[in-house]
Amino acid sequence: MPLEPDTLTPLLIDFPFEWNYIRSIIYVSLYVSLTAVVLSTLFSLPVALLVGFKDFRGKTLLTSIINTGMGFPSVVVGLVVLFAVSNQGPLGSFDLVFTTEAMIMSQFILAAPVITGVSLAAVSSVEQNVRDAAYAMGGTKTDVALVTIKEARYGIATAVLAGFGRAISEVGSVLIVGGNIASSDGTSVTRTITTAIQLEARQGRFETAMILGAILVVLVLIVNAIVVRLGNGGGGGRYE
């Protein structure tokens, strides 16, 4: 190593964390965000289908409200959830403050409007004649819904991924309701990758913060790849 070790350090930088620490914050991040996204999807898809299929007074207003929800500041959502789960709040007796459950609640609130809004756009763009055809062939309402979901699956997959992106990348609400807690042996309790980045940046350790940022990007990339693969495999060819 006599040859200018300084120029090599940026590439061969010592991995600055315990493996256990990294593994546990990745686990907490994925556990919280994936649970929140699954719950949001289960809630949002039926809502999107219902709103998409039915014509009723105030539909435009409701759509606008859903779309506004996509822009909720995460810090505000965090504060609202904190008030709800705080020991003085309506859910105080459940002892949820500074837990992953509270973090899932706030990410649910953040992800649900995104998934609903984007799915709604996808469902609405499925042409009326496709639905009519499904009816004409003797399909029940469920059949029509399934056909619509199948036709809109790329849009819905995009919705779920957008919701996941919103959830896993936000730092404001999980910091407030989760408290960014790691135990003294370096295992994350409520620390996610984003709050860990915030902690490193606060202490001026920008390099380690960047490494964590890279891990986050890779993670999001993997999840995206899996969802896209599932979408292609499950649905057959695109223009069948």
Binding site: S86, N87, G179, I181, S183, S184, R202, Q203, R205
Partner: protein, 313 residues
């Protein structure tokens, strides 16, 4: 106005305490643990300041406590103001902070009991190495601050109601200067100590920092100490004492009071105080133990100046 607000807070607090009384028996069941028959509760929630957390001291302190009682300590690092507010809502069991005036208010309102002096270090006035305000070596903090304001050298304030922010405002005040009247050179940073040190370093500005965080970060930033605190012979107003307070179980009856008192007992014991004394970062001692003393120190249990006048603040 203030009185009314307190009255309201007290009313809400007590009615909530009554309302929660019925739930306590249910919630308490989960606290029994065969591994630790001596103590109830499994998880202690400690809210504290970024300065104790970011230096790594708490990991060192908490591990032996967790081993001994088979419990976990959830440490939430906030500013002093936020840490006390979390405790006011009954969301933490014990608070470790460094702003005596805010701690006193917390106890005055009935939220805190059994306060102990814990440890101290000091504040230092740091700034760019070329010292544009010309304050280096100044032994009087008020003079140094006056010089900075006259030179209109940039100064980054925490601006977050933390212990350090409270101290900074006190210092400007004793120097006879009004923060509200400052020009653009006075920057409201709005962040934790580490963030503010980074910000000051990038902007070539002065700031007030606790010595612990500064030592811990000095290799990452380009700032020097221009006015030392009392640890290195500087002026007494830069003293930075830390206290620890349990949340009053009569106000929030679900708090882990047993565990909180065990924690306070441990941290003010010879063992805990030795860990504090021996903790170093980059070869320097960060905190000085203060809990052990042969002489009685009654003032640590009550709001400052309690004996002489207990009417207001």
């Amino acid at each position: 106005m203030e009185i009314q607000r307190r009255g309201l807070v007290a009313a809400i607090g007590s009615s909530a305490a009554v309302g929660l009384a019925g739930c306590a028996a249910l919630a308490g069941d989960t606290g029994d643990n065969e591994n630790s028959p001596e103590i109830s509760g499994e998880t202690l929630t400690l809210t504290t300041t970024t300065s104790t957390y970011d230096t790594g001291l708490l990991d060192e302190l908490n591990a032996p406590f967790e081993d001994r009682y088979g419990v976990t300590v959830d440490t939430v690092a906030q500013g002093t103001g936020a840490a006390l507010e979390t405790a006011r809502n009954g969301d933490s069991d014990v608070v470790m902070v460094h702003a005596r005036s805010l701690e006193d208010e917390f106890m005055d309102e009935g939220y805190g009991v059994n306060r102990r002096d814990l440890m101290f270090n000091d504040f230092v006035l740091v700034g760019p190495p070329d010292d544009p305000g010309g304050i280096s070596g100044e032994t009087d903090i008020e003079t140094a601050l006056t010089e900075i304001s006259e030179a209109e050298s940039e100064f980054v304030s925490r601006g977050d109601n933390s212990g350090t922010h409270t101290k900074e405002l006190e210092l400007w005040d004793t120097a006879g200067l009004t923060v509200e009247a400052f020009g653009e050179w006075y920057i409201d940073g709005g962040g934790g100590m580490g963030e503010i040190l980074n910000q000051a370093s990038m902007q070539d500005a002065y700031t007030l920092s606790d010595r612990g965080t500064f030592i811990d970060m000095q290799s990452e930033i380009n700032l020097d100490i221009h006015v030392q605190g009392p640890v290195e012979g500087g002026p007494e107003p830069l003293m930075n004492p830390y206290g620890i307070v349990a949340v009053n179980p009569a106000v929030h009856d679900h708090v882990e009071y047993d565990l909180a008192m065990a924690y306070i007992g441990y941290i003010t014991s010879i063992e805990g105080q030795e860990i504090i004394e021996e903790y170093t970062s980059e070869g320097e001692q960060l905190f000085f133990a203060e809990a052990l003393s042969e002489e009685p120190n009654f003032q640590q249990y009550v709001p400052e100046g309690w004996e002489s006048s207990n009417s207001d603040e």
